[in-house]
């Protein structure tokens, strides 16, 4: 084959025309294939017309005997004279019967004619119908044949595909083997998975149970919450009511306070007005219960050595007696040539002291002491005053005392001794302005704590009615408790 083999001028090639030719060729081949595939069946000649010949033969045979009684039988079963006689007899009978059979004959011939006409008509009609059906059928059959042709083509394609499939079947078989091995492994894995699943399922079961329980708890919690919130609701309501009632109360309180304030003002004015009478009352109370002026003056002599010891009572460092009262102590100091001052709130006591020529100021002790310069006094004394003060003021009095005393100065405070059972439970309360009994150790401790040094307790005034001081231990103890010192003094120094 040479390289310049192709002489064809392909742009002039009409591809569609060639393809149509191929299509015809293919169709023709398929047609042949179809025909040859039906060769084993008997060839059928088309019977286009209805065959009426059989019917006509029957009618003719009927016609041949329609002329009944016109011919005698040949009487061939007889012979000779017998036959002649039989023929003769037959003819006679026939002759006679013609009179009877004439109508029958005419009927027979008419019927046969009618049958012939019917047969002819039927044949003609039948042929018309047959032809019409045949034409229609032929029209329908052609496309069917074409369809069968294409089905055959497809069948061929399918068989070639099938051959291809057979080839790949071997590969598929090998693959299947592999797959089966894989399947076995998969089976094992599946088994394991199922076991795990079973475990998981059981643990799931318990989890579900727990979940259910948790659910119940939750439900309860929710119920409680609901109750709580409703309770909260009512609490809030109550709260609101309470608040409004509190506000009401506040208002009331406020009004009451205003009233109280007003009352207080009135009380104050009353008290102020009645001040004189109360002072007078206390003066007369003192006259009755404190003891006589001489008796007291005698008692306080006890403290003179403490004053002289520190050289107090000079004009530079005088002695201050707080709550001086009737001024027995001031009078004693004056007698001793010592300089002393007194301060008392009670104007009656102050005026009595002034009459005696004592230096006494009518003023609140705190107001008075507050005005004194530091280290300006040699001694500070106070007899039976601290049991009249609230604790805080007593502290304040101690602090101020420490401040105003000069270094080396002495402070002396006397108070009833509650260690004496009679004092603590009875005589202490004789004075309605007493606050509470003060144990000596407590007072000593506080005095030291607030800055006084060498603090000591001086027990004074045992009951003169004390019984036998000697005797049993019980007697001694009894005497201590009931007839021991009725007062004590706390004595400290400023260092």
């Amino acid at each position: 084959m040479s390289d310049n083999f192709r002489e064809t001028n392909y742009p002039e090639v009409d591809i569609d025309k060639i393809m149509e030719q191929i299509r015809e060729e293919v169709t023709r081949r398929r047609g042949e294939r179809n025909k040859s595939s039906h060769n084993d069946e008997p060839v059928r000649h088309e019977k286009a017309f209805i065959d009426a010949s059989e019917i006509m033969t029957i009618i003719s045979s009927a016609e041949s005997i329609a002329d009944i009684s016109l011919m005698t039988p040949k009487m061939l079963q007889f012979s000779g004279l017998t036959r002649r006689l039989a023929v003769f007899t037959g003819k006679k009978i026939l002759y006679l019967s013609t009179f009877i059979t004439a109508k029958q004959r005419s009927f027979n011939i008419t019927i046969i004619h009618a049958l012939r006409t019917i047969t002819d008509t039927l044949t003609r009609l039948g042929n018309d119908i047959f032809l019409r059906i045949k034409n229609e059928t032929d029209d329908n059959i052609e496309p069917l044949k074409k369809d069968i042709g294409s089905i055959n083509t497809r069948q061929t394609d399918m068989s070639s595909t099938l051959e291809g499939l057979t080839g790949s079947q071997a590969e598929t078989a090998a693959l299947l083997k592999l797959l089966k091995n894989g399947q076995a492994e998969t089976g094992n894995i599946l088994q394991n998975l199922m076991n795990e699943q079973a475990e998981t399922a059981s643990s799931l079961g318990s989890i579900r149970k727990e979940q259910a329980e948790t659910g119940n708890i939750l439900q309860n919690l929710m119920n409680e919450q609901a109750e709580t919130s409703s309770a909260l609701g009512s609490i809030r309501k109550e709260q609101a009511e309470t608040i409004s009632s509190i506000e009401g109360l506040r208002k009331e309180q406020h009004t009451q306070l205003e009233e109280i304030g007003k009352n207080m003002e009135q009380i104050k004015s009353i008290v102020n007005n009645d001040d004189g009478s109360l002072e007078a009352l206390y003066v007369s109370f003192e006259e009755k219960f404190r003891g006589s002026r001489e008796n007291i003056k005698e008692r306080v002599k006890e403290y003179l050595p403490y004053i002289k010891e520190v050289n107090a009572g000079t004009s530079d460092l005088p002695v201050l007696d707080i709550g001086c009262g009737r001024g027995e102590w001031l009078e004693l100091l004056k007698d001793e040539g010592l300089i002393a001052r007194g301060v008392d709130k009670n104007s009656i006591f102050v005026s009595q002291c002034s009459e005696l020529g004592l230096d006494v100021t009518n003023e609140d002790i705190f107001v008075y002491i507050n005005k004194l310069p530091d280290k300006s006094l040699g001694a500070v004394t106070g007899f039976h005053i601290i049991e009249h003060l609230p604790f805080v003021q007593w502290i304040k009095l101690l602090d101020e005392t420490v401040r105003v005393l000069n270094v080396g100065g002495v402070a002396i405070f006397e108070t009833p001794n509650p260690q004496n059972v009679s004092v603590g439970s009875y005589s202490f309360y004789m004075d309605p302005t007493h606050r509470k009994p003060l144990p000596s150790q407590m007072i000593k401790f506080i005095a030291e704590a607030r800055g006084l040094s060498s603090v000591k307790i001086l027990e004074l005034h045992p009951n003169p009615e004390a019984g036998n001081k000697s005797g049993s231990d019980t007697d001694k103890r009894f005497n201590e408790h009931f007839y021991g010192p009725q007062d004590y003094a706390v004595i400290g120094y400023k260092r």
Binding site: T8, I15, I18, V26, E163, G164
Partner: protein, 342 residues
Amino acid sequence: MIRRVAVIAVKPARGEKGGAERLYEGLVSSLHSDGVTADLINIVSDESSFEAIEETYLRVYDLDLSSYDGVISTKAPSYLIRHTNHICYLIHTMRVFYDMFDNEFPQPTKELMKQRELILNLDSAALSYPRTKKIFVIGNEVKNRLLKYNQLESKVLYPALPSDNFRRGSFQYIFTLSRLHRWKRVDLIIKAMKYVDRPLTLKIAGTGEDETWFRELADGDKRITFLGHVSDEDLIDLYANALVVPFVPKMEDFGYITIEAFRSCKPVITCTDSGEPAYIVREGESGFICPPEPEAIASKIEYLYDNQERAKKMGIQAKESINHITWENVSEKLLSALGANR
């Protein structure tokens, strides 16, 4: 706007799975992206008789693919399709009427000559513009043939590998993979082994109609092993550890073996008349192109055994030389020829 593309595949009635089947898979999956749907339309081609061939031609001619925006035909006779937007990525025509005609029919009858003329006329007409808007071909062999027999111009577009798991291993033996058919000329390699005087074995993978003949030719040479069908994983290993891959078919249109060997960094020995492999292999750089003679092939095998560093270097150069062959590249060119906006 190109949304739906049909690729017409032609499958032989007797199924030998070869390179074309792998090409279809790669092509369709690379087209099938970025707003484009690609369908593979299978045509079964019966080439057992001329009548059967005619019927296959007619079936494609009657095929209605008007619901697609574009059609890509591949093998004969898929390009007979009638579609307004049709391009062809030609794998091959029916070679028995083309370059193989003289081999198969040394004394053709008048009827055969007539049949050949008919096929060539039909192919030429169907592949002409405007029935076919543009022709791409898988290699220079197909391009030259198309020019020689059909006077048609075309553009070479190398198909890529469907999968790319190939790797480089050691350099141990001679390996070839082929359909065991006389056109693939495995006999040349088997004969070459008689001249190879080095401790090397030859592994031959593949099956085919001429296997018995090749086995007889090997004549019990213990260095030669026929592996039959091998799995894809085994194939990768076989390539990976080969010293060299001889691939010496006669007038091969493309031949994935060259590409697979190059991907595995192996030099390829091919022959001057082997077709496309002789275009792909660069003499002395990525392999050798020698005359189709056993002695010549044997001497190149011995050279590579004696110069293994050279063999390794050639393998690396071989891999680099085909980096541009990708399916993305192929589908981009095809879609742009169909008029897709890309």
